[in-house]
C-alpha cells in the first residue's frame, strides 16, 4: 500500500485520532485528579464563633482569642429558678452548617454529695426568632447528674443564635458550692 493511500485511509485516521484522544483525555484526567489529591491546609477564621449576648454583663463572662471559647460565671438560687435570657450568642459567618451542644465534663461528678444541692442547669439554644433548636439539660436525681445530649440542627448562613441558661438549687442548698460545666459546640460544615 502506498503512502498516499495510507494517509487517506479513513478508518486508520479515525483510529489514530481516537488513540491520541484517549491518551490526551486520560493524561488530563490524571493531572486533574492529582490536583484534587493535593492536600492543602489554610488557616481561616472559625465559621461559628461566640459573641456577647444582650445579658452578657449578667454572667461575668469572658470570650477567648478568635471567639472559639468562652467562660461564664453563673449563679443558682435555692428553691428559685434563675433565668439568663440571652447571655451568649453564636454567629455563623459561613454557609449553612449543622450545630449541636455537647457535654464534655461536669464537676463535682455524679456520686459526690455536693451534686444533690443542684436541681437543674439547663442550656437552651434558640434561633434568631426565638424558636428552641435544642437543649442540654443537666438535672439531678439524688447525687447523680443526668447525661444530657442534643441532636444536630441546621444553622443557616449569617444566622446569629443565642443560648439561654436556667439554673436552680434545691431548697436549703449549701451556699458557695460550685459546679464546673464544660460544653462543646460541635459544628458540621
Amino acid at each position: 500500500m502506498d503512502k498516499g493511500r495510507i494517509l487517506r485511509n479513513k478508518p486508520l485516521k479515525l483510529l489514530t485520532l481516537l488513540l491520541t484522544s484517549m491518551l490526551i483525555a486520560s493524561a488530563s484526567a490524571t493531572v486533574y485528579y492529582s490536583l484534587i489529591m493535593q492536600p492543602s491546609v489554610t488557616i481561616t477564621a472559625a465559621v461559628v464563633a461566640f459573641a456577647q449576648g444582650g445579658d452578657w454583663s449578667a454572667v461575668a463572662g469572658s470570650i477567648g482569642t478568635n471567639a472559639t471559647w468562652c467562660s461564664l460565671a453563673l449563679k443558682a438560687y435555692p428553691n428559685a429558678t434563675l433565668t439568663y435570657d440571652e447571655p451568649l450568642n453564636l454567629t455563623n459567618s459561613g454557609t449553612g452548617v449543622q450545630i449541636r451542644l455537647r457535654r464534655v465534663s461536669i464537676s463535682p461528678a455524679s456520686g459526690n454529695s455536693q451534686v444533690g444541692n443542684f436541681t437543674f442547669i439547663n442550656f437552651t439554644l434558640h434561633d434568631e426568632t426565638g424558636v428552641i433548636k435544642g437543649s442540654l439539660n443537666y438535672t439531678t436525681t439524688g447525687d447523680t447528674w443526668s447525661t444530657p445530649s442534643m441532636a444536630f440542627t441546621a444553622m443557616d448562613a449569617s444566622d446569629e443564635w443565642y443560648i439561654a441558661i436556667q439554673t436552680k438549687a434545691v431548697a436549703g442548698a449549701i451556699a458557695n458550692i460550685v459546679a464546673d460545666i464544660q460544653i462543646a459546640v460541635d459544628v458540621q460544615e
Binding site: K10, K13, L17, S21, I24, A25, S28, Y32
Partner: protein, 176 residues
C-alpha cells in the same frame, strides 16, 4: 461537606470537548478541510499543557485567575462547537445534519457546561457576580424536560416511519 469543583475542571471539560469535535469532524471528513480534526487535537493538547502549567503554578495564580483562564478555555471550546454547527448549516447547507448536530452535540454540551459553571459559582468562595446562581432543583426540571422531548421525538418519528410503511404496503396491495 460536598467536594468542591476545582477551576481546572473547566479546562478538563474544554479538552474533552475539543477531542470530541476532533473525532466528529474526522467522521464527517467529507464536509471539513482535512486539517480540522488535527487542529482540534492540538487544541486539546494545548489544554493538557495548560492543566500542567496550572498545577505547577497553582499557589502563584490564585483561585480567581485560575477560574478565569480555565473558563475562557472552555468558552473557546464551546465556541468551536457552535462554529462547526454553523459551518454545517450555512456554507455547506447541510440543514438536516446541522439540526442533528445541534440536538446531539451543541445543545447538550452547552447545557452541561452551563450547569457545571453555575454549580461552581454557587459553591465558590469568591464572588462571581457575572454568573447567575441557578438553583439545583432546576437541573431536575431540565433533565425531565429533555427526557420528555426525547420521548415525544422518538414516538413521533416511529409513528411516521410506521405510517409510511403502511402507505407503501397499501400501495403494493392495490397494485398487486
Amino acid at each position: 461537606m460536598q467536594p468542591q469543583l476545582l477551576p481546572e475542571f473547566f479546562a478538563l471539560l474544554g479538552i474533552d470537548i475539543f477531542l470530541a469535535i476532533s473525532l466528529l469532524t474526522i467522521l464527517l471528513d467529507r464536509h471539513f478541510p482535512a486539517a480540522v480534526p488535527y487542529v482540534y487535537q492540538i487544541a486539546g493538547l494545548v489544554g493538557f499543557g495548560h492543566l500542567l502549567a496550572s498545577r505547577e503554578f497553582m499557589p502563584l495564580f490564585g483561585d480567581y485567575m485560575r477560574f478565569w483562564y480555565c473558563f475562557i478555555y472552555l468558552i473557546v471550546a464551546l465556541a468551536n462547537v457552535v462554529v462547526v454547527n454553523i459551518y454545517l448549516a450555512t456554507p455547506k447547507k447541510l440543514w438536516k445534519l446541522a439540526k442533528i448536530f445541534f440536538g446531539a452535540v451543541t445543545f447538550p454540551t452547552i447545557l452541561m457546561s452551563t450547569f457545571f459553571v453555575s454549580g461552581y459559582a454557587n459553591g465558590a468562595k469568591m464572588s462571581l457576580p457575572l454568573f447567575p446562581q441557578i438553583p439545583m432543583g432546576f437541573l431536575y426540571v431540565a433533565l425531565v424536560t429533555c427526557t420528555v422531548v426525547l420521548s415525544v421525538g422518538i414516538f413521533v418519528s416511529l409513528k411516521l416511519t410506521r405510517s409510511e410503511k403502511n402507505i407503501q404496503k397499501e400501495v403494493k396491495e392495490q397494485h398487486g
